[in-house]
Symmetry: none
Subunit: 203 residues, 4 copies
DNA sequence: CATGAATGAGAATTCATTCAT
DNA sequence: TATGAATGAATTCTCATTCAT
C-alpha cells in the first residue's frame, strides 16, 4: 500500500524522463527521423519501458504538443489589452508582448520549433492540432487590433488580413532568429519586428 | 561515345517521368514518408531504373528544388519596380505581384508547398537551400520598399523587418489558403493581404 | 514454519482466482494467444503475483488440464454398464450417457474445448496428456461394447475400431454443436448421435 | 523482354520454395509457434524476400490451405457412388475410399494435419475455412448413405448423424495413426475403421 | 538501358520474467 | 505475500540499394 506511493513517484519520474528525452531528440532530429530507440537511449531506459508509458511515437509527441499548448495559451491570455487607451499604451503593450515572446523562446524554444515544424509538414498527423493553435493566436491578435481601432488609436485596417500577416511575420522572425541564422538573436529581431508592426498600424 | 540522338531523348523522357512522379508523390505524402517505391510506382518504371538516374531520394528532391528555384527567381525578376513613381503605381504593382503569386500557386503550388515544408522541417538536408531562397525574396521585397521610400511614397519604415514581415505574411497566407483550409481560396486572400500591406506602408 | 490458517486460505483463494481467470481466457483466445498479462488482468492481480503461484503459462495450463481430467474420469466411472442385460437396458444406458455428456458440456464446456483443442494442436506440450485421456475414454467405450457383445445384445463388431469411431463421432458432435455452429444445440445433436450409434451396434 | 520469362520462372521457383518450406515448418511446429524466420531459414532466402511473395504468416498459411482444399476435393469427387448397386459394390467402394485415404495420407499427410489442427484451434483465423471443408465432406458421406438406403442396401439410419459420426470416426483414426501413436500404421487402421462402419450400416 | 529478384540493416512492438520495495 | 516498474530477447515488417540477366 505504502508501496504504491513510491511506485507512483518512480512512475512519474520515468515518464518525465521520457518526455524530456523525447523533446530533446525531436528538437534535434525532427519527428520523422527520431526513433523510439533514440528516445529511450536519451532517457536511459530500455525499449520495453517506453511502451509502458506511451503507445507509440505519435502518442508521446502528441503529449508533448498538448503540454506546450497549455503553456503557451496560458501565457498569451495574460496579455490584457483592454487597458490600452493611448498610443503610448499600445506601444508599451507591443513591447510587453515582445518581451514575453523572447522569454518564451528562451524557455520553450524547442517546443515552439516542433510546433511550427509539424504545422508545415506535409501529411503530418499533428497539422490539425497545430492549425487550431495558430488560428487561436491569430484571432487573439485580431481582437487586439479591433480594440485599438475602436479606441481610435489605429488605422482602419482589414483586421483579418493584418492579424494573419502579423502572425506570419512573427513566425518568420522566430524562424530566422532561432532555427536558421545563429547570428541573428531573437532578443534583437523580435522586438524590432513587433515595434515595426505596431507602428505601421498606428494612426 | 556520342550517344545516339534517340537514346538521349528517351533518357531525358524517363528522367522527366521520374521527376514528375516524384513531385506528385512528395506533394502528397511529404518527403519523409515518400519511398523510392512510391516514386517508381507513380512513374511506371522499376526500382533499378531509379538508380540509373538519381543517386537516392535526397538527390531527386534536390533536383526538384533546383528546378523550382530557377522558375521562381525568373518570375520574380520580371517585376520591375523601378518604374514605380506614384501612389497609384505602387498599388498597381502590389496588385500585379498578387496576380503573379496567385498564378504561381495555381501552376506551381506543389513545388511551393514542398519548398515551404522542407524549410521548416527540422534536420532537413534542404534547409540551406530553402533559406537561401527565402533570403533572396526578402531582399527583393526590401529593395522594393527602399525604392518606395526613396521616391517619397512610403513611410520611413525599418526596411529589414518590414520586408521580413511581408515575406512571413505572404507565406502564412499561402499556407492557410493552400495547405490548411480548403474553404479559403488563394485568389481571395492573397490579394487582400498584399493590398493591406501595401497600404500600411504608404504615407 | 506453520503458516497461519488465514494466510493459507488467502493463498488458496488467489490461486483459485488465477486458475479461474486462466480457464476463462484460455477458452476465449486459445492457449497460444493468451498472455500472462491477460490472465492476471482477468484475475485482478499483478504480473509478479502470477509467478508466486505458477512457474509459467505451461504450468498453469497443465494444472487446469489435471483438474479437468480428475473431474471427467470420476464422472465417467459412474456409468455402470455391467447392469445392462437387455436391448432396452442398452438404449437406456445410451440415453444416460447422452444426458451426462450434455450436462457435462454445460458445466465444463470450456475445459472440454481446451482439452480437445490442445490434443489437436501441433507441437503442443500437452498432447501426451490429452492422448492419454482420449485413450482412457476409448477403452471405456470398448469395455461397454465388449460387455454388450458378451451379453448377446450387440453384433459382433470389431470392438477396437468401433470404440475409436464412437469416440471420434462424439468429439465431432461436440465440436460442431459447441465450437462451430451456434445454431446447433448440444442437447439436440448429442443424444441423436449417441442413439444412432447405439442402434447401429444392436443386433 | 526475354528477361521477363527468366524472372518469371525464378519468381515461381522462390514462391514454391517458400510454400514448401512453410508446409514443412508448419507441420513440424504448428502454425502459432512458427515464425517467418523459421520459414525463410528453411527456404534458404532472407526475411525481406518473404514479403515479396506473401503479406504475412496468415497469408502464406491461407495459400497452403487453399491448395490442399483443391487437391482434396478433386480427389473426393472421383468417388462415384452412383454405380453402387449391391452389398458387394458397397463394400468395394468402402475399400476404395480407404485406399484413397491411406494414399492421401502418405502424400499429403502434413497438409491434412494442418487442416485438422487449425479447425480445432481456438481463435484460429482459419476455422471458417476448415469448417466449410469438413461440412463438404460430411455432406458427401451423407449422399453416399442416402444412395445406399435408396438402393435398399443399408439400414434406415439417421443419415445426418451417421454421416457426422463417420467423419468424426475417420478423423480420429487419422489422428491416432498419423499424429499420435507412431506404432499404429494408417494402412492398418484406416481400412479397418472404414470396413467396420460400412458393415454397421449394411442391412 | 531496363528489369525486378534478392538482400540485410533497422525500426516498431510484444511479452515472459525478474526484482527491489 | 503482493506489487508493478523495468528488462531484453524475440518477432514482424519496411525499404534503400545492389546486381545478375
Amino acid at each position: 500500500m505504502a508501496r504504491t506511493r513510491a511506485a507512483e513517484i518512480a512512475r512519474e519520474a520515468t515518464r518525465r524522463e521520457l518526455l524530456g528525452a523525447a523533446l530533446e531528440v525531436f528538437g534535434d532530429k525532427g519527428y520523422a527521423s527520431t526513433t523510439i530507440s533514440d528516445i529511450v537511449g536519451a532517457a536511459g531506459v530500455t525499449q520495453g519501458t517506453f511502451y509502458l508509458y506511451f503507445k507509440n511515437k505519435e502518442n508521446i509527441f502528441s503529449e508533448l504538443l498538448n503540454e506546450y499548448r497549455t503553456l503557451m495559451i496560458s501565457g498569451l491570455l495574460n496579455t490584457d489589452f483592454t487597458a490600452v487607451k493611448t498610443r503610448k499604451d499600445w506601444l508599451k503593450m507591443a513591447d510587453r508582448v515582445a518581451v514575453f515572446l523572447v522569454d518564451h523562446i528562451e524557455t520553450h524554444g524547442t517546443f515552439m520549433r516542433l510546433f511550427i515544424a509539424e504545422a508545415e509538414t506535409i501529411g503530418s498527423k499533428f497539422s490539425e492540432e497545430s492549425y487550431a493553435f495558430a488560428d487561436g493566436v491569430i484571432q487573439e491578435i485580431g481582437r487586439m487590433l479591433s480594440h485599438g481601432i475602436r479606441m481610435g488609436l489605429l488605422r482602419k485596417v482589414d483586421v483579418e488580413t493584418v492579424a494573419l500577416s502579423a502572425f506570419g511575420a512573427l513566425k518568420e522572425a522566430v524562424r530566422q532568429s532561432c532555427f536558421q541564422d545563429p547570428s541573428i538573436e531573437p532578443e534583437e529581431i523580435i522586438p524590432r519586428v513587433i515595434r515595426s508592426l505596431a507602428r505601421l498600424v498606428l494612426k
